[in-house]
Amino acid sequence: MQTKDPKKILIVEDEKELVLGLATLLKSHGYSIVVAYDSLFGISLAHKENPDLIILDLGLPAGGGLYVLESLKNSVETVDIPILILTAQQGGDLEEKAKRIGALAYLHKPFDPELLLNKINEALSA
């Protein structure tokens, strides 16, 4: 559990029940949470809040997750923020494409919460 200087995680996900679950899980592990429910708000919040890590869904309204990923990796302010992809989309090259653009990890829904926590720990301790 982290008590001092909590790391900030931005969740960009449109499924409200999933956001509730993610927020509960991450808060209980000492992280502070900010949430965006669509692509454009996600990009603006990433610039405004400067989170330590972003959890990004690919099937998002208003542009889609790959657009968010590309925008954030093309911006000097947000290029270094590690981004974990959480997605239900199954497409031949999606994973390769996301990793090529700069995603740190790619988790398929329904994901194992412990695996997600491990990936977040790895990303934030690196």
């Binding site: 499924e15 029940e17 999933l18 509730l20 679950g21 993610l22 509960t24 899980l25 209980s28 099937g59 959480l86 239900a88 989309q89 199954q90 497409g91 031949g92 398929h108 829904k109 329904p110 994901f111 919460p113």
Partner: protein
């Protein structure tokens, strides 16, 4: 692919049916008008040995005029029939493309619409189970554990259905490369070792040809090997064994999975590869694993064989053509 060739033939027949009558009959008449009538007129002129001036006046000129008119009519009829046929073919090509797009969209929609809510249920149950929302008693924990098992089963079922749909709809593309069969088999054995240890089942490697390579989709063939191995482990009794053998002859690379399970009665062997077929309903499973395995093997132009004896166990053999590059998809 054989399946695709058959579809093409059917499409072609449908085009003909849609035109309500066989266009070739009318095309034959049209070509007769275009070719045979002018040819007969030409023959008549040759045999009549008339001078050029005689051709242009009198009966001969009239015959030529009529011949020319008939020929033009023939061209016109042929042009219209060919136009109709090409339009129908274009319509079918468009429909076929649209139908492929629909299949891909179906896969994407099902993925999204089923997996998202399942993820929400899974993480929220995990949170309650872990006590992040408040303390729960042991009995409540047991119920939640049952829910977690069901969620895992649903996730496997959704993934299985999507895999099967992609393969059968022709949406799944093989990403081929040349790889070592023994290496990927060893990797799959490692992945399933924990499952085997839980049941105290021994996995025996018999790689008779360790340098054997095949030209295929590494991920999909790994999935086929995992399916056979996990089935073997599932049905093997405690302290039983599953043997994975890799060998080859001049035609095929062979993967053989032998278990010491209860075996399959002869009258049920044919049902093994049916979707949702679970011959032993006591064992947990989606009933899709062997159907997917068979489809994967057939995508590689291979075969899967089964030999089984009740009370002694079962043997599944995957045969893959040695050089798949020679057999175009």
């Amino acid at each position: 692919m054989d399946k695709r060739d058959k579809t093409k033939t059917t499409d072609y027949k449908l085009v003909i049916q849609e035109l309500k009558e066989n266009p070739y009959k009318r095309l034959n008449i049209a070509f007769a008008l275009m070719v045979i009538v002018p040819f007969l007129a030409f023959l008549y002129l040759l045999t009549s040995r008339l001078f050029t001036i005689d051709i242009l006046i009198g009966n001969t000129g009239f015959i030529l005029g009529v011949t020319f008119f008939i020929s033009i009519c023939g061209f016109y009829i042929a042009y219209n029939i060919l136009k109709k046929i090409f339009n129908k073919i274009l319509d079918y090509a468009f429909q076929a493309k649209h139908s492929d797009q629909l299949k891909s969209t179906f896969v994407a929609t099902v993925s999204h619409e089923l997996k998202n809510p399942l993820s929400s249920i899974k993480i929220n149950i995990y949170n309650i189970f872990a006590g992040f929302i408040g303390q729960i008693n042991e009995e409540q924990k047991k119920v939640l554990q049952l829910c977690q098992v069901t969620i895992e089963r649903m996730a496997r079922l959704i993934n299985g259905l999507l895999d099967l749909h992609k393969i059968e709809a022709g949406v799944a593309n093989l990403k081929r490369n040349r790889f070592n069969l023994a290496e990927i088999s060893a990797r799959q054995i490692n992945e399933l070792q924990t499952l085997a240890d839980k049941k105290n089942v021994k996995i025996i490697k018999e790689f008779l040809d360790e340098s054997l390579t095949v030209w295929g989709d590494e991920d999909k063939l790994s999935q086929a090997i995992v399916n056979l191995l996990s089935n073997g482990i599932k049905f093997a009794p405690e302290n039983g064994a599953v043997t994975l053998k890799i060998y080859s002859d001049s035609t095929f690379a062979k993967i053989e999975c032998v278990d010491t399970g209860p075996g399959i009665p002869d009258n049920k062997v044919n049902m093994l590869f049916n979707k949702f077929e679970r011959l032993n309903s006591v064992e947990e499973g989606t009933g899709l694993g062997l159907a997917i395995t068979k489809d994967i093997v057939e995508l590689h132009r291979g075969k899967i064989l089964v030999e089984s004896q009740v009370g002694r166990g079962s043997k599944f053999i995957i045969l893959l053509p040695r050089d798949l590059r020679e057999t175009k998809r």
